[in-house]
Every structure is written in C-alpha cells, then in structure tokens.
C-alpha cells in the first residue's frame, strides 16, 4: 500500500533521510522507532506533503500512485492522513466547519455525496464517542486553547471522521497521560482494518503496548537499519539504540 524506496531528503541543505526503504502493506500496522534526530518527523512531514523539504532521491508509491507528485491536499483526498505531533492551533476556524469542509472535499473526490449539516452532525456525534471527546470542546475553534491531550484526541477524531486509507501517527503518545493515551489508542485500534495501513512513529515503547504493531523498524541516521516483530520494541526500550549502532559497525 505504501512503498518507500531509497528515499533521500534534505532540509536546508542537510541530509536527513539517506536512502530510506519501507513497505507497509494494507491491513498492517508498522512502528518506526528511533532516537531524536534520526529523521522520524521529517519522514512524516515528507509523506504528508509539507513544504520546505527537498526530495533528492528515491520514490514513494501510495496505492499505486506517485505520492511525491501530489500536493498536500491531493494526498489527503487520496486517503493519506497524518496525525500531527504538534497539531496546529487555528483560532477563528470552528472545528466543526473545518471538519465538514475536509470531509466533503474527500467525499467529493471519492465520488460520494457531500453531507449536509444534519448528516454531518450525526456522523460527528457518533465519532465523538469513539474518542471519548467532550461535545463542547469539539465545537470550539480548531485546537485553539486545547490541552496537549485534547489536541491529540482531536487528531484521532479527524482520522475517525475522514476514514483515510493510510494513517501516519507522529509521536501521538507525546504529552499524554495514561487516560488520554488509552482513549487515543482505543480510537486508533477501532480504525484498524484489513484495507487500511498505519505507520506509528514513536520515541517510546509505551504506546506500542496499546497499539500493537505487526512490524517494528528502527530508524537511525535517516535509514531503516533493523526490522523485526513487536518484541524488537521491548528490546529497544531495555537496551537503547547503541547496540544497534554497534551492529552497524561504524558503517556511518
């Protein structure tokens, strides 16, 4: 579903991703773990289509299409979704109005009928329950004045509403207390589906107790250097990354 081949990315002239290769088939949840500065956030932003990144090599195929050729909004309409590490506050834009615009532009692209206000609200209310989000909060201005946990829940609410083909969760666990972590994980797990792929980017193993991955990859210095099952996450938690660096044998 998502095939990344030898992806090389520079930011401000500096090499960040140095030939990253990764294949996430539909129906699977893969985790990427790595220390600070290994390129995790760059990967998520490049896949979502943020400006300011120079792709200098490699390719990304999404559902058979060239992902890197598309604008950010086209990618979203094609079914790509990034749950932001730092969701952006947009004062003055209502959460609901925003989501209705987003949902209808995606529905239109899929050839589905656009939802009217009634249809939208019905769906909105049902999805609020799945992420255990306060109705009042959801009607406020987009992420404006939300706590860290509220912002993350709002990301998962958006994901539940938009039903993407593929979701990238960028450090979704950061800044969450245990209740919020559970609510967010439940929301994500409810969306696991044989037709949907997910990439969970995280610093800590903790999240993977709740969202259990099919595969775990280690990102180090802009490359996937080791892959394994979910037990690899536990090993990383215990031993850190130095042993992997040592395994690489000074290849860098």
């Amino acid at each position: 579903m998502l095939e990344i081949k030898n992806l090389k990315v520079k930011v401000g002239g500096k090499d960040i991703l140095r030939g990253l290769t990764l294949d996430v088939p539909a129906g699977e949840v893969h985790a990427i773990m790595g220390p600070n500065g290994s390129g995790k956030s760059t990967l998520s932003y490049v896949l979502a289509g943020r400006e300011g990144y120079d792709v200098t090599g490699g390719e990304v195929s999404f559902d058979g299409k060239d992902l890197l050729e598309m604008e950010a909004d086209e990618r979203a309409r094609e079914g790509m979704f990034l749950a932001f590490q730092y969701p952006v506050e947009v004062p003055g834009v209502s959460n609901k109005v925003f989501l209705k615009h987003a949902l209808n532009s995606i529905r239109k692209h899929r050839g589905q009928e656009e939802l009217d206000a009634v249809g939208f609200l019905k769906l909105f209310r049902s999805k609020l329950k799945t992420v255990k989000m306060d109705k009042k909060l959801a009607g406020r201005e987009l992420n404006s004045g939300f706590s860290g946990g509220e912002k993350k829940r709002n990301e998962i609410l958006q994901m539940a509403m938009l039903e993407p083909k593929f979701a990238i969760l960028d450090e979704t666990d950061s800044g969450l207390d245990i209740d919020a972590l559970k609510a967010v994980s439940d929301g994500v797990n409810a969306l696991r589906d044989e037709n949907r792929g997910m990439l969970v980017i995280t610093h800590y193993q903790r999240l993977l107790d709740y969202i259990v991955p099919d595969r775990v990859h280690v990102l180090l210095d802009g490359r996937i250097v080791k892959s394994g099952g979910k037990e690899l996450a536990l090993e990383l938690e215990e031993r850190g990354y130095d042993w992997i660096r040592a395994e690489q044998g000074g290849a860098n």
Partner: protein, 415 residues
C-alpha cells in the same frame, strides 16, 4: 453683518472661507501623507463640483426593503432623504436637512481643530442629509441606506450630513450602509452628541462602487457615563477614507472603535481616528483589522490623547493587518500621547501574512489551497465581525467578505 447671521449661517460662512483658502487636503499634511486626492480633484474639476441629482419618481421600492432586526429604515438617494420609501419607528425624530438644519450642526466636527478642507467644504455646502434624535429609551436599530439614483449619472459630488443626538440615557443603534453604484464623490460628515448615560452603537458599512470616492468624517461628543461604539467596515470605493474623532468630554464616558477593511485591485482604504480623553475615568478601546490584497493600500492611523489632569483613564489600541499580496501596501501608525501618570494604556500594530503551518494543516485534511486560504482570512476577520450589533449586519459582512474572496479564488466558503 455677522451679527445678523444665525450661528449656523455664521459657521457656514467661516467654513466656506476655510474651504476657499485650504482647498482639498494635500499630502503635505501629516494626516494625508499617504492619501492623495489628485484623482478626485481631476474628476471634480471636470464636472464643476456639486451636482444635485433628481430622484426618479419610479424609483425601485425593493431597494428600500428592510433587513432583519431593524425597527426602521431610512432611504437616502444621492444623500437625500426619501421619505416615501422610509420607515421611521416610534421614538425616533427625523429632520430632513434639505428643509431645515439644526443650529447645533457643525459644532462637534469642530473647525478650529481641523485644517481639513473637506469637512469645511461639507459644512459650507451641505444641502442634504438627516438629523436623528431620541429622547426616550432604546428605540432599537435603524438603518440609513445610502444609494445612488442612477449608475449612469455623470460624476456627481454630494455633500451630505448626518446628526445623531441622544438625550440622557437614550439608546440607539444606527447602521449606515453606503452602497451606491456608479462614479461619484460622497463627502459625508456625521456628528454625534451623546448626553449623560446615552448609548449609541454606530455601524458604517462602506461598500460603494470601486469607481467612487468615500470621504467620511465622524465627530462624537460624549457626556458623562455615555457609551459610543463604532464599527466601520470598508470594502468599497477607489479611495475610502474614514476619520473618527471622539471627545470623551465628561467623566466615565467610554468608547470602542472597531474596524475591518479589505482592499482589492487598486483600492486605497484609509482609517484615521483621534480619541480625546479630556475627562477623568474615561476609557477607550480600539481594534482595526485590515486585509490587503492585489495592489491595494491600507492605512491605519490612530491617535489617543490623554489630557493633563484626566486621571484614571484606560485605553487599548490595536491594528492588525493581513497582507495577501506582495504588491499590497500597509501603513500603520498607532499613537499615544499621554499628559499624566495615572493611565493604563496599551497599543500596537502587526503586519503579517497567512500562517503557513495553519495552511498546511488545513490542506493536510483534504481542503484545497484556495479554500484553506479563504477560511483563514475569514478567521482573521471573525473577531471584529462577531462584535457588530444586529445579526443581519454580521451576516451581510460575512457574505460580502465571502463574495470578495470568491471573486479572488472562484470558490465559496462558509464561515
């Protein structure tokens, strides 16, 4: 000779002298540094100044259809009151200035403070407009709708005047909508006199034809504990200039001046304000937001004067600008002049572009770039629109902004 003149006639004679000697304000004056009236002068010299247009008898009554939430609507055609198509609510006294002018006219828009030929010209020459007064309690909202008799009429200058007087504890909401089509000059002076405890909410929506000129002066004198709220929305005219001068003359008086302006094409939109804190415990707040696109120019200049001996005053002033085009120009000058120590004051100005992170965030959810752009512009304007009295006017402002943004992007967006 002058002893035989009434006070108003005398004022008008003085004003005429001032107009003859000063002429149109020139960019040499600090207050007109960024606004050049050469284009207006060129047009007026061709037509020889004031042209009085006749109101066609078959004038379309639809144009006077009232908006929701209004107790009354006054239709002003070429600045002249059309009584037949107007609805005047109980408790509101309306005097047609074409028939008689109250003696107090011209005393608030004080000539001695103004080196401004336009205000003088208006006082000397005005021959149309209305005086509104309320002596009882809240009359509700009334709309003054300024339209042109004909779009095809030759360039016409109209000198119109509006006087609003509220007696003690009277309340009124006045919405001026300047929506004239065609090429014309609207030199419009509004005077407001608020007695103790009176409350006036005053909205001006300026969406005149972009070939026209809007020169608006608003002068306000406030009595003890009175409240004046101004909401100026400027969308129209080739040159749209609005000057507000508020005299907080007695203790406890307060005012709020809000503004929203959106420039497109080559529009030149200019907002000036002066707030005089003359008495103790007077407060003011001011928030103007500008959106400048294409090659438009937006100007904000706000002066707040805290007089010596006026203790316990508080003021805030902010001008925020959103620049959507590299060729648009913003001039902003918030100014405080404080003559005593017992004051709370804050002021500032910002000039910025749309937030790239917010744009990306919206787009990452499937919203196309142009819609995302419009949503953020709406969000910027929302704060000032939400404070406008009468909901139908809020809707009208949102619709107008949406229409203008749609003209840019070819898309519509709901606020």
């Amino acid at each position: 000779m002058s002893a035989q003149l009434t006070p108003l006639a005398e004022l008008r004679a003085t004003a005429d002298g001032l107009w003859q000697s000063n002429g149109l304000p020139s960019p040499k004056l600090e207050a007109w540094k960024h606004t050049n009236l050469r284009a207006l002068q060129r047009v007026e010299s061709k037509t020889g100044g004031t042209v009085a247009t006749e109101i066609p008898s078959e004038f379309d009554a639809k144009i006077a259809a009232p908006l929701d939430g209004f107790a009354g609507t006054l239709l002003l055609v070429d600045g002249k009151l059309n009584l037949a198509l107007s609805v005047i609510p109980d408790g509101l006294t309306v005097v047609d200035l074409a028939d008689a002018a109250p003696e107090q006219l011209g005393t608030i828009a004080k000539l001695d403070r103004l080196q401004d030929g336009l205000t003088a010209r208006n006082l000397a020459q005005f021959d149309r407009g209305v005086a509104l007064s309320v002596t009882g309690h809240d009359v509700g909202a009334i709309e003054l709708r300024y339209v042109q008799s004909s779009e095809d009429a030759a360039m016409a200058t109209q000198e119109s005047r509006l006087l609003i007087e509220l007696a003690r504890h009277a309340e009124l909401t006045v919405v001026e909508r300047h929506i004239g089509a065609g090429q014309f000059v609207n030199n419009h002076v509004t005077e407001v006199d608020l007695s103790a405890g009176a409350v006036l909410k005053h909205v001006r929506v300026q969406h005149q034809d972009t070939r026209s000129f809007h020169l608006g002066k608003i002068a306000v004198r406030q009595g003890r504990d009175s409240r004046y709220e101004s909401h100026v929305a400027q969308f129209g005219a080739a040159i749209g200039r609005c000057d507000i001068e508020v005299f907080l003359a007695e203790p406890g008086a307060s005012c709020k001046l809000d503004g929203l302006y959106h420039g497109q094409g080559n529009q030149h939109i200019d907002n000036h304000s002066v707030i005089h804190h003359i008495a103790n415990n007077t407060t003011s707040s001011e928030l103007y937001k500008g959106i400048l696109d294409d090659k438009s120019t937006g100007i904000f200049r706000g002066n707040i004067l805290i007089y010596k001996g006026a203790s316990g005053c508080a003021t805030t002033q902010m001008n925020r600008n959103l620049v959507l085009s590299e060729q648009a120009t913003v001039h902003t000058k918030p100014q405080l002049e404080i003559d005593n120590d017992d004051v709370t004051a804050a002021h500032g100005a910002t000039v910025g572009q749309l937030d790239d992170d917010a744009l990306f965030y919206l787009r990452s959810r499937g919203i196309d770039a142009q819609t995302a752009h419009s949503m953020l512009v709406f969000a910027f304007a929302g704060e000032v629109v939400a404070d406008v009295p009468v909901e139908s006017i809020q809707t009208l402002l949102k619709d107008e902004l949406a229409r203008r943004l749609a003209a840019r992007t070819g898309l519509t967006v709901e606020g």
